[in-house]
């Protein structure tokens, strides 16, 4: 993977698999400190301390061994961050949730492009009618904040049923990817 947005989708999928009802994501370039901070926090099941260490081992997954023997998401993200001379961290508490973060210098040759962040946000938001997301993306490539909670409130009690109606899919696509019918891509700023 060379797109940061693809790593983020992978980490967010871990949060969803862990039953998170709220997933928060920050991808923020701090020009003053000259670092990019990527943080993803969820209120899913969390992991016991012993599992956290194991989760960083690519040969460990909580998925049934019969079906799957390796878990790559966390080790790959860690490798990305560390190959960019950055710091990877994971904090998790059972019953509370998990926070995964990477901080790395902005100007290094190994830095991945952000890539299709709109596609990642669209897949997550539109694909999970019962989960709330908050995104803060502030990098030289993109400037976007989005929160599903006011959307849910505006849609009212039928929000989950309306979430993937054609009209809502269109709304999400326009909001999150800036793509309009005629194929013209609107700048994010």
């Amino acid at each position: 993977m060379y797109e940061l947005s693809a790593f983020i989708l992978d980490l967010a999928q871990n949060s969803l698999t862990a039953g998170a009802r709220l997933v928060k994501l920050w991808v923020v370039a701090d020009q003053q400190a000259n670092v990019l901070r990527v943080t993803i926090a969820d209120n899913g099941s969390g992991m016991p301390a012993a599992m956290v260490d194991k989760a960083l081992d690519p040969f460990v997954t909580s998925k049934a061994a019969r079906k799957k023997k390796i878990g790559l998401g966390l080790p790959l993200f860690r490798q990305l961050v560390e190959s960019c001379c950055g710091t990877f961290r994971i904090r998790s508490r059972q019953g509370i949730g998990t926070v995964v973060s990477g901080v790395y210098p902005l100007d290094n040759v190994d830095q991945p492009v952000l890539g299709d962040m709109g596609g990642t946000m669209l897949a997550l938001v539109a694909g999970n009618p019962r989960v709330d997301f908050r995104f803060v993306v502030r990098t030289p490539e993109s400037d976007k904040t989005f929160d599903t909670r006011p959307v849910r409130e505006a849609l009212g009690p039928d929000a989950a049923a309306l979430w993937q109606s054609p009209d809502m899919l269109k709304w999400f696509r326009q909001e999150l990817t800036g793509e309009y019918e005629d194929g013209v891509v609107k700048g994010e700023r």
Partner: protein
């Protein structure tokens, strides 16, 4: 965010929705895209985006969602299509350009699209020609 547009969407939908669709119910049809590390590596995100785009333009009532890896890395990108929460058919090695045909055949016509189908344990049966 253009929140003001949502009220119009809500009111229009409320008028159109049958009583049965209202509330917390999921649609009859559900497409689950495998979105683990390997799925993403093989392009699952683009396929999922295409599913959403086609559901929007074909005006279908389908839930398109994702899950962690199915553990079938050799056939990524893959999805499972469920009907009525039970019947499950798995399609593998998907590309965005296959999506329209897949929706047209499987959901609109109710037939299995055999070229893309992958038979895995737990799906609805291997009888050739069986409809959904």
């Amino acid at each position: 965010m253009k929140l003001d547009e949502l009220k119009a969407i809500r009111d229009k939908a409320a008028a159109a929705m049958s009583q049965k669709q209202k509330g917390d119910k999921e649609p009859e049809w559900k497409i689950v895209m495998s979105m683990g590390t390997s799925g993403i590596l093989y392009g699952a995100r683009d396929v999922l985006k295409k599913f959403m785009q086609e559901v929007e333009s074909m005006q279908l009532h389908v839930l398109v969602t994702q899950s962690g890896s199915f553990g079938l890395d050799d056939i990524e990108p893959m999805c499972a299509i469920y009907h009525g929460g039970r019947n499950k058919v798995v399609y593998g090695r998907l590309k965005p350009e296959m999506v329209h045909e897949l929706l047209e055949t499987h959901i609109v016509k109710g037939e299995i699209l055999k070229q893309y189908r992958v038979v895995v344990p737990g799906d609805i049966g291997n009888e050739p020609g069986r409809t959904v």
